[in-house]
């Protein structure tokens, strides 16, 4: 066991944990943040996507040794009042069907929009190709990302 300190959704966290334990299970089992989902456990499906220092990592294969001293953001940390452009767009367009993969989709989308505030369809297809949806919500995800880009742009214009 090792004491690992990191920043989670803006707050400092310290936890005694095996260094090789995947971040996903620390989030879900040890810290009770169950918004991040377990899908394949092999970094294939993207359900478990969270942000590490702003990058959209697969928490199911990321050991806690990599997390020490870093900033982690989960779906719960996008905003406390559902005001994040991605959250608003997802609600406006009712993107989810079963919803299981959506936290991962949203975290990838949020990461994409930071890097590319006005993505094309092709940019979205590339960026979101690592997030699988068994319900096939891909078209709504695409629309929602465009919508989130508009919300973010308008928010920026107002500010």
């Amino acid at each position: 066991m090792k004491s690992v300190a990191f920043n989670l959704n803006g707050s400092p966290v310290t936890i005694d944990v095996e260094p090789e334990k995947p971040l996903l299970w620390v989030l879900r089992d040890d810290l009770g943040l169950t918004g991040t989902k377990y899908g394949c456990g092999m970094a294939i499906c993207g359900c478990c996507t969270v942000h590490l220092e702003g990058d959209a990592i697969r928490s199911c294969v990321t050991p806690m040794s990599r997390i020490e001293g870093k900033h982690v953001r989960t779906i719960e940390g996008l905003s406390s009042d559902l005001s994040h452009p991605v959250q608003r767009a997802w609600m406006d367009l009712q993107v989810p069907q079963c919803g299981y993969c959506q936290p991962g989709q949203m975290m990838s989308a949020a990461c994409l929009l930071v890097q590319n505030p006005n993505p094309t369809d092709n940019d979205i297809t590339d960026a979101m190709s690592g997030n699988l949806c068994r319900c096939g919500t891909y078209q709504r995800v695409r629309k929602a990302i465009h919508h989130a880009a508009e919300i973010a742009a308008n928010k920026g214009a107002r500010a």
């Binding site: 697969r58 294969v61 690592g130």
Partner: protein
């Protein structure tokens, strides 16, 4: 002496002076140029044994063209995977400017600093700290950067050899740096410890490094 002939003499000496300056400059350029050339990998060195160099390169080529090397030195802008060097199924991965991928699909979003314990899981390698030690808390997994893609896939021995020895294509890599890369870069070493279900190159790592050293020590000659 009238003023006019005196001026002519001054003019003549000025030309002599300019010629001397040009000659000295040319010599400096040649000397410094050769000094630089001696530091970079050169394709042919008349002091080396051309036959030995080509034999050694041919040995090393068998490793360069193995999937463990080719998969991260692709002809296109996306990484390859598996023993058949196919693109990552389903994922639309891109090299990116620095070779580390494009968010939200950067290489180290999945690849960690060590292999995961199953051949269906992403393999990994650690970053090297400035002091040369390995940092197992930070993964390093990438393609060559976009401005020097160092393509291995599909290269003939002659093409690959020329690419490796051309400073414009190899990013100014010196012979020492090339030997250092193949002998101690964690991503190269990973090729011999690729994890469950992945084949290793046809030579041992020592044999590979020895081949590269011999090739370069004998002038770095390339096959025709």
């Amino acid at each position: 002496m009238s003023l006019e002939p005196r001026l002519r003499i001054v003019h003549k000496w000025r030309w002599c002076f300019l010629l001397v300056v040009c000659a000295v400059t040319a010599i400096c350029v040649l000397v410094l140029g050769n000094a630089h050339a001696s530091r970079v990998v050169r394709p042919v060195d008349q002091h080396g044994d051309r036959t030995k160099a080509i034999e050694a390169f041919t040995m090393a080529y068998s490793v360069f063209m193995h999937p463990r090397c080719v998969n991260c030195h692709p002809a296109g802008n996306e990484p390859l995977r598996g023993e058949d060097s196919k693109p990552h199924e389903g994922l639309r991965l891109r090299r990116g400017i620095d070779g580390e991928g494009v968010s939200p699909l950067k290489c180290t979003n999945c690849h960690q600093s060590e292999n995961q314990p199953d051949h269906h899981l992403p393999p990994g390698a650690p970053r090297v700290r400035r002091d040369g030690s390995l940092d197992f808390t930070t993964p390093r997994w990438h393609l060559p950067a976009a401005n020097t893609p160092m393509i291995f896939q599909g290269r003939t021995p002659a093409q690959l050899c020329r690419q490796l020895t051309d400073p414009k294509q190899n990013g100014g890599l010196t012979a020492d740096q090339l030997v250092h890369h193949v002998s101690s870069d964690p991503l190269v070493l990973w090729g011999w410890k690729p994890g469950e279900g992945r084949a290793t190159p046809p030579l041992t790592h020592d044999q590979f490094v020895t081949s590269v050293r011999e090739w370069l020590a004998n002038g770095g000659a390339c096959p025709n």
